[in-house]
């Protein structure tokens, strides 16, 4: 019994003080940590892929006019899975290391990205971003014809 109490005491003394001084000194997370996401509306083509995979549905896509598409991120619901960044074809979403997101104002956790779209000639709705359309023009995109054989 005494021996075992002694051993326990040695473990405690050997461990010493392990409490970190955080938040008085910064404590950066490990590389690759998944924190708050950021969106670059210049790169976004409004495909909606991110909204499609987001499990808590915190990305909302709306078309307020014929040529604007708005992406809103309500990040107070974000689960930091980084799926949106993973599926984005244009790498418009980046995962930062920001984890200190506590706030009194939920607006701090909202991101709004406006994307200018070309509208469809037939239905008049948003069709494709002008940047992406330009890109298609430049490379002279054509559908590949079916091979006859």
């Amino acid at each position: 019994m005494i021996l075992s109490k002694l051993k326990e005491a040695i473990i405690c003394l050997g461990a010493g003080r392990v409490t970190l001084p955080y938040p008085f000194a910064p404590h950066p997370p490990a590389e690759g940590f998944r924190g708050k996401v950021e969106v670059d509306s210049e790169k976004c083509i409004g495909c909606g892929g991110c909204a499609n995979v987001c499990t808590p549905r915190c990305i909302v896509v709306t078309d307020p006019s014929q040529d604007t598409r708005v992406l809103e991120f309500f990040l107070e619901r974000c689960t930091y899975c980084a799926r949106c960044a993973e599926v984005c074809p244009e790498e418009a979403i980046t995962v930062t290391e920001q984890f200190e997101t506590a706030t009194n104002d939920t607006q701090d956790m909202h991101i709004k990205a406006e994307v200018y779209m070309g509208s469809c000639q037939r239905c008049g709705r948003c069709f494709e971003t002008s940047t992406a359309l330009d890109k298609l023009m430049v490379t002279g995109f054509q559908g590949v014809p079916e091979s006859g054989e």
């Binding site: 019994m1 075992s4 040695i10 473990i11 392990v18 997370p29 690759g32 689960t79």
Partner: protein, 558 residues
């Protein structure tokens, strides 16, 4: 006994009553019987075919096949096989004979099906509500397909909670729903004679989150892993792995070898941190906070390691149907080995120190006895079972991930008391460390994700188990339309283990109840992953100050 022999035997016994038998994937046998035969067939499986009851699932098939079904899932551990026994009933006569009188372990599952799918278990010894709040209207069953996932029916006024009668000559000590020790709500009503506990009644399911419902009405196949991971606040990775393996089985694909190794390694890492966490809590329950502080200090580096490997210390977000998202690159291997080496060294020192600590032993040895027989009949799982000498371990009995190659053994102890469960967990901790080393060494190269040629077709089934730190978790999946399952059934280990609590605390003193409960490492939020918001708590929160005042005045007037 081979699959064919099992089918043969069931056919001889039940003749035409056995409607269908199929084995779409090795290790999962699906039998359909007439509803009249569900009880004898279950009994036969349990008594003659060495099958251990695992869980039941109620399924609404009204839209597709015009029936409701009840599927009881059994595990034939030594044959490495699940047997899923299904019976269909029509909507009007939604009733099957209860199997609980023969298969004691089905007690909760059958009550759950009554609540959520509305198939009555005729002749159930305790047919009270289990999951639904008492003021939930009669006849409204949330897992029916015509019940919207976000519906919130009007609560019934004046509904009464049905508690068990206290036996003659005993008084009732009410613990919970909120109480110290465990941070999750549950109500235990202990029937005591003096200081001795003679029985108890359990009322839980205050934490319903509607996860199964979300799975078949809102989420898609690849969103579910992220929700599954949040079923448990400690061992989330086991749930996402189990779901993914079940979905892969249903889809008829296998995750690549390397991905399966990564799953196994992370599962063992999770077991290491979970067992250390538990060791701390157990010390804390006994008022021995040194163990809490030191066990958690030893555990912390592995949490940081998880953050380094996966980008998050707890919700790894690693699993998708078909594989994993990130590699464990060789660069980080030395760091992992260092970390677990350190944990091994320090844990050994702690084990060495506490082993001779008589204050601890007095509280643990010979307390919370669960005899082997009872452990088998209630079908407890994990260290709770292995501490009662029941040698089941999903890694051995139903190898998943890479456990077909990373071989391990079921660590048992025949002490049947709280101490036996401690010893089992400590041995498992060191075994997990060995497995991580082994896994890192033998992990093959290759891709992390399989390519899906086409969408997962509807109507396929998959059942998979993963050995969580607390015991086996089961996920059963039926694929559906719209890129989501038709039914996703989850059973966490505590669901089965908690049903043994009345046996474990019988004849103990009240003071030993917390540690006995603690010895099974319960996780209530896992257990209660099922249905919609608890309307009762919602309403209570809206009581005005006047109401509260009036209530307490009335109370003190008596």
């Amino acid at each position: 006994m081979t699959t064919q022999q099992v089918i043969q035997e069931m056919r001889e016994k039940f003749g035409e009553g056995l409607r269908a038998a199929e084995e779409p994937a090795p290790g999962a046998l699906y039998l359909t019987v007439d509803k009249e035969l569900i009880r004898p067939a279950s009994r036969h499986l349990q008594d003659k075919l060495d099958a251990r009851f695992v869980i039941s699932a109620g399924i609404d098939r009204l839209a597709t096949e015009g029936c409701l079904s009840v599927t009881h899932i059994f595990s034939r551990d030594k044959a490495k096989q699940f047997v899923c026994l299904r019976a269909d009933v029509s909507e009007n006569g939604a009733e099957v004979e209860a199997i609980t009188p023969d298969v004691v372990a089905a007690g909760w599952s059958e009550r759950e099906i009554q609540d959520l799918v509305g198939v009555k278990a005729k002749g159930h010894p305790d047919p009270r509500r289990l999951v639904l709040p008492d003021d939930w209207p009669e006849g409204v069953h949330p897992l029916r397909k015509d019940f919207p996932y976000d519906a919130n029916p009007e609560p019934v006024e004046g509904a009464e909670v049905k508690f068990k009668e206290a036996p003659e000559g005993t008084s009732t000590v009410v613990v919970g729903p909120f109480y110290p020790v465990l941070e999750e709500p549950a109500q235990l009503r202990l029937f005591v004679d003096g200081e001795r506990v003679v029985g108890c009644d359990y009322r839980g399911f205050y934490n319903h989150r509607g996860i199964e419902k979300l799975g078949d009405s809102v989420l898609t196949y690849n969103q579910i892993p992220f929700v599954a991971e949040r079923i448990c606040g400690i061992c989330g990775f086991i749930h996402s792995s189990c779901y993914c393996e079940a979905a892969e089985q249903a889809a008829g694909v296998q995750a690549p070898r390397r991905a399966r190794y990564i799953r196994s390694i992370m599962l063992e890492v999770e077991r290491i941190h979970s067992h250390l966490l538990w060791l701390g809590i157990a010390g804390h329950i006994l008022g021995f906070d040194t163990v809490l502080m030191q066990a958690w200090r030893i555990r912390e580096p592995i949490m940081w390691l998880c953050e380094k490997i996966t980008g998050s210390r707890k919700s790894f977000g690693m699993n998708l149907v078909g594989g994993v998202r990130w590699d464990i690159s060789p660069d980080i291997h030395p760091e992992i080995l260092d970390c677990i080496g350190q944990i091994e060294k320090e844990s050994l020192a702690v084990v060495d120190a506490v082993q001779g600590d008589t204050t601890l032993l007095v509280r643990l040895k010979g307390v919370g006895i669960l005899p082997e027989e009872d452990a088998r009949s209630v079908c407890v799982v994990g260290p709770t079972a292995r501490g009662s000498n029941v040698d089941i371990d999903a890694r051995v009995d139903h190898p998943y991930a890479a456990y077909d190659e990373l071989q391990t053994r079921a660590i048992t102890n025949d002490g049947c008391d709280n101490w036996a469960r401690v010893v089992v967990r400590l041995e498992e901790l060191f075994e997990s460390i060995r497995l991580v080393r082994e896994g890192l060494k033998t992990m093959p190269d290759g891709p992390l994700m399989v390519e899906f040629a086409e969408e997962i077709p509807a109507g396929r089934q998959g059942v998979c188990t993963v050995e969580a730190p607390r015991g086996e978790a089961i996920h059963y999946l039926i694929t559906g339309e719209n890129n989501r399952p038709d039914r996703w059934r989850v059973r966490a280990p505590t669901y089965q283990n908690l049903q043994a609590l009345p046996l474990m605390i019988k004849d103990e003193t009240i003071a030993d109840v917390p540690i006995t409960l603690g010895s099974m490492d319960p996780c209530f939020s896992c257990t209660e992953r099922v249905e919609t918001v608890d309307v009762r708590t919602g309403r209570q929160a809206m009581l005005s100050k006047e109401d509260l005042l009036r209530l307490s005045q009335e109370k003190s007037e008596r």
